[in-house]
Symmetry: C2
Subunit: 213 residues, 2 copies
DNA sequence: AAAAGTCTGTTGCATTTGCAACAAATTCGT
DNA sequence: ACGAATTTGTTGCAAATGCAACAGACTTTT
C-alpha cells in the first residue's frame, strides 16, 4: 500500500483552535434534518463534531444527488462548499449529529492579533476544501464504474492507512456519489470480488491488489 | 435563458489589487511549457493574465487528463488547485500565455495593515476555487454524455450571459474534461443538433432549448 | 414486537458508450 | 509558405451501463 495520506479534516489542534479562535455556537440535528441551505443568504461555516452529514442537491425531477459527505472534523458552508444560484444545495444530517457554526466573515477577517493560529486555520480550511473537490473529480473522472470504485477505494485506503476499511457511505449512497447506477455498481463489485482484486461484504472492503485505473 | 452567473475569475479591480497587494513577478510561457508543477514543493499561486492554460494529470499509461482550464483572470497553484502526493498535477500552457506569480504565504498571511482589499482578494480566490470545483463535479456528475454536455453548455451560457458562445476548450479537450470518449461525444453533439436542442459548428455553440439534464 | 422504511443483492434487456480506425480540415512552427 | 501536428468528423462493432423490477436483510420508529 501507498504512504499515509493526510485526512481531509481538522486534527485535534485545529478543532481546539476553531473553538477558541472563532467561538462557534453548537447545535444538534437528527437524521434527515437540514443543517444548512447553501444559498446566497447563508453566511455560516459549519464544523461537524459528531455524526455524518451529506451535501445534496435536488434536480428538477426530485432526484437527490450526493455531492459530498462529511465526517467529524470536516467543514462546510459558505465558500467551503460549492453553491450556485440555480440549484438548491443542502447540507443534511445523515445520522444524528453535532455541528459548530460560525460566521464566515469572522473566519476570513483576520482577528486583531493577526494570530498565527488563525492563519493556519484558514489555510487548513482551504486545503481540505481543495482535497475533497479533488477526490470527487478524480473519482468521477474515471470512465468506468470499476475505475471510479477503485479510485475511491484507494483514496479511502490511503487516508485510513490500511487496505481494509469501512466505507464512509452506504452502498446506495456510494453509487450516487460516484454517479453510477446502483445495480450496475453492485455487478461491478461482484466482479471485483470474483477477480480477487478486493474482498467486500456490504460496506466493508479490503483491497487485495493494486490495479491500474 | 437564466440570469447572469458571475464568472469564476477576477474582475478588473481584483486584478489591480492583486498586483498592488501581492507584487507578483510576471513570466511568459509558450504552448506546451509547464507553468507549474503542483506538488509538495510548490509554494506559488499563479494568476493568468493572457492566453489559456490547462491543469492536467498524467496516468500510468501516459494518458493526459484535463482537470481544469484557465482563462485570463483565473488563479491556480498552491491550495487553489487540487494536488496529491501520488499523481503529478501540472499547469501547462495551452497557448502562449502570461502569468503573474506570488508566494502563497504572502497571500494567506495578512499584510501589516490587515487591509480590506487583501481580505476581499482571499475571499474571492476561495470563491472562484469553489465555483470551478463545483462546475466540474456538476458536469461529471451527469450520467450521460448528453447530460454532461448540456450541463457544461448551460454553465458557459450563464457565465457569458448569452445563449451563443465559443467554447473555452477545443472539442478534443472538452471530451477529455467531461471524461467521455471523443467519438461518442461527437455522435451526441450531432444528435443534439438534429434534435434542434443546440446548433453547433466546431466549438461555436448556440443553445436553442432548455432541457432537463 | 410489529410495521415502516431503508439498504443490499440480483436478473434480463435495451441503450449508451468506448474502442479502433480512418479521412479531411485546420492550425502551428520554422 | 511549407510540412508537421493537431483537431474535427465519421463508422461498425463489442462491451459496459442504465433501467425496471423484485426479494430478502437490516434499522428505525411507534
Amino acid at each position: 500500500m501507498k504512504t499515509l495520506y493526510p485526512l481531509s479534516s481538522f486534527n485535534k489542534t485545529e478543532l481546539d483552535d476553531f473553538e477558541s479562535c472563532f467561538h462557534p455556537i453548537q447545535k444538534t440535528f437528527s437524521r434527515g434534518e437540514i443543517i444548512m441551505r447553501l444559498d446566497e443568504d447563508n453566511g455560516y461555516v459549519g464544523l461537524l463534531r459528531s455524526g455524518t452529514a451529506h451535501l445534496v442537491t435536488t434536480t428538477f425531477d426530485g432526484t437527490k444527488t450526493i455531492i459530498d459527505y462529511f465526517e467529524p472534523g470536516n467543514i462546510f458552508g459558505k465558500r467551503f462548499s460549492p453553491c450556485t444560484q440555480v440549484d438548491p444545495y443542502l447540507v443534511m444530517a445523515k445520522t444524528r449529529c453535532t455541528v459548530q457554526l460560525v460566521d464566515y466573515d469572522r473566519v476570513i477577517t483576520c482577528c486583531e492579533k493577526c494570530c498565527k493560529k488563525h492563519i493556519r486555520l484558514i489555510d487548513s480550511m482551504i486545503l481540505t476544501m481543495a482535497r475533497r473537490a479533488q477526490l470527487h473529480v478524480e473519482v468521477l473522472g474515471k470512465r468506468s464504474i470499476r475505475g471510479k470504485l477503485m479510485s475511491f477505494f484507494y483514496h479511502i485506503s490511503r487516508s485510513r492507512g490500511s487496505a481494509s476499511f469501512v466505507l464512509p457511505l452506504s452502498l446506495s449512497d456510494l453509487a450516487d456519489y460516484i454517479s453510477a447506477d446502483r445495480s450496475a455498481m453492485m455487478r461491478e463489485l461482484k466482479k471485483l470480488n470474483s477477480e480477487k482484486i478486493i474482498v467486500s461484504h456490504s460496506n466493508k472492503v479490503t483491497i487485495l491488489k493494486d490495479i491500474n485505473v
